[in-house]
Symmetry: C2
Subunit: 109 residues, 2 copies
DNA sequence: CTGTTACTTAGCCACATGGCTAATCAACTC
DNA sequence: GAGTTGATTAGCCATGTGGCTAAGTAACAG
């Protein structure tokens, strides 16, 4: 995947991973803490965490035998920015269309 | 894919599809118009369009032999909303941490 | 009605994804 | 040091994804 947006969007395209993000907004947590609520084998769950980490949405450090993860908010902003920009362009287009419509309603002012 | 956010995010996790979205913000276009700039066989490209349509980000009608696509902005808002909400929560958490830090700096006011 | 154009379908391929079990590693606990 | 616990690795499987070619359909142009 070339673009950073690719990995970010695809990391967010999964409910398990979004749930992890939501959970981490509350504060750091260990792998097994995060795993707790998810009905899924640990190795499967780990893959999700790895994907989040590769996307840069999460960082982690291992101390002793437990790994602690915390969220990295900045990359999500990239995704949000893209969406916001598209919305602005879209709204701008609607404005132009509306202006056009109004101009047509009043042919010769 | 259960959730609507799943399909939306995963639809946006590809540069070709994002480019199509960006192009469509400028106004409706036919399949081959959209295909033009992309160095890819038509059937491959069609798969991308179908994925966009299944995600609800795009609608299309066929008149005569050409299919015209236009953007459906609303679903993107769902994705943006989710991101915005996460950011708010994150910022809220930072505020609380900062408040805590300030409280600790001035132990007994 | 023949040819061209604009998609569409079918079918193939390689690789990624998301799940699993079993086994291993490393660090605490007793 | 033996056992337990937290995390990881290896390897398997089914399905999805993203690309292709080849062939088919449907409408428009002459």
């Amino acid at each position: 995947m070339a673009n950073q947006l690719d990995t970010i969007f695809s990391a967010m395209a999964d409910p398990t991973r979004r749930a992890v993000i939501e959970r981490l907004l509350d504060g750091p947590a260990s792998v097994s803490d995060l795993h707790g609520p998810h009905d899924m084998a640990l190795p499967s769950f780990l893959k999700h965490l790895n994907k989040l980490e590769r996307a840069g949405l999460v960082r982690s450090e291992k101390t002793g035998r437990t790994r602690t993860l915390h969220i990295e908010a900045a990359p999500m902003a990239a995704a949000e920015d893209w969406l916001t920009q598209q919305r602005r362009l879209w709204e701008g287009r609607l404005d132009r269309l509306q202006a056009l419509a109004e101009a047509l309603e009043r042919p010769k002012t």
